[in-house]
């Protein structure tokens, strides 16, 4: 059975809290830290939250940058994490 460890929960909580209260770059740094260590799909909802709250346009054509960045971060960091950051 899968149990998230405390560091992962702490980083996710900080990132979620940061998405509401901290400057955006703090959340970005925390998200990068998460994906560098874990396959952290939980950053995708954080990206969605940022887009839903902050994205200025409601047009279908407006690009949800934060969500796409979250998806890309998880995928792009996967080989990096697999080869270099295994414990």
């Amino acid at each position: 059975m899968w149990f998230p460890n405390n560091t992962r929960i702490l980083l996710f909580s900080l990132a979620a809290f940061g998405a509401v209260f901290f400057p955006w770059w703090v959340t970005l740094l925390l998200a990068i830290t998460l994906v560098a260590r874990y396959q952290a799909w939980e950053i995708v909802p954080i990206g969605m939250y940022i887009d839903l709250v902050s994205l200025p346009s409601e047009s279908m054509l407006s690009v949800p940058y934060a969500t796409l960045l979250a998806l890309l971060l998880v995928v792009l960091f996967e080989p990096f994490r697999r080869h270099l950051l295994i414990t």
């Binding site: 899968w2 940061g18 998405a19 509401v20 209260f21 901290f22 400057p23 955006w24 959340t27 874990y38 396959q39 799909w41 995708v44 969605m48 939250y49 940022i50 887009d51 839903l52 709250v53 902050s54 994205l55 200025p56 346009s57 409601e58 279908m60 949800p64 940058y65 934060a66 969500t67 998806l71 998880v74 995928v75 996967e78 994490r81 697999r82 295994i86």
Partner: protein, 263 residues
Amino acid sequence: MKPRFYRSVRPEGSGNVFRSMLVYALFVLIIFATDYFSGSIIRSYVRSGSASVQSLGASAYSVFDSGYFASHSSLVRENQELREELRSRIDRDALVSSLDDELALLKSALQTSENSEGRTVPVRSSLRSSPFGTFLIGAGSAEGVQIGDRVHTLQGLLLGTVVSVSNDTASVKMLFSAESEQEVVTNDIAFRAFGRGAGRARAEVNRDARISEGDVVYAPEISEAPAGVVGKVETDVSSALKVVHIHLPVELTTLRYVYVVSE
């Protein structure tokens, strides 16, 4: 011989990352499509929830800032002020001083209200947390806020315009958000300013233009209110242009109320 067990060098689910990404991308697409076709109902709920959390955070910060959990240095300073004023009931005074701040803000809003038509509304999200230069205010279509309404500080400085509205919140895009361009005027000289976020902008003007530090900048396309102040002018002897740095002379992170003027 006893078998030896090695820890796997493959992180969990590494082979399925692209499949997982497709699933998450589909999930994201469904959420955003539902939001779009339902008339932004998901966005509205998320923004209302976010506004409530921000409001709770602001209240907690207000207590924090008013003295209960202040840092040692600010406690020392505040204690000196309190000794001069009341000499007793320190805890109660911290709350009172917090309410005084609120009252001063509302008095300031009242003065602004007397001069123009509009309404004072609370800020419901951090002006720093959005990467898109937007923030939420605690009034929406129910209070008559519309897309295109102008948003000012209580001192009358132009902050931005309302770009989307839900029932009880509205999203405001700041005038000088990052990557934005805005036609501005100062000393009857018109030029284009490029936003750099956090109420700052940069522009290049003719070297001979009479622009100096402290000049007030206006965005006449949007409002007659001042939109910023020239903070610094950089002149290079080898260049035909000089660089003008514009900023809002208010601390954006401490803004708790703004003034919304309808079209």
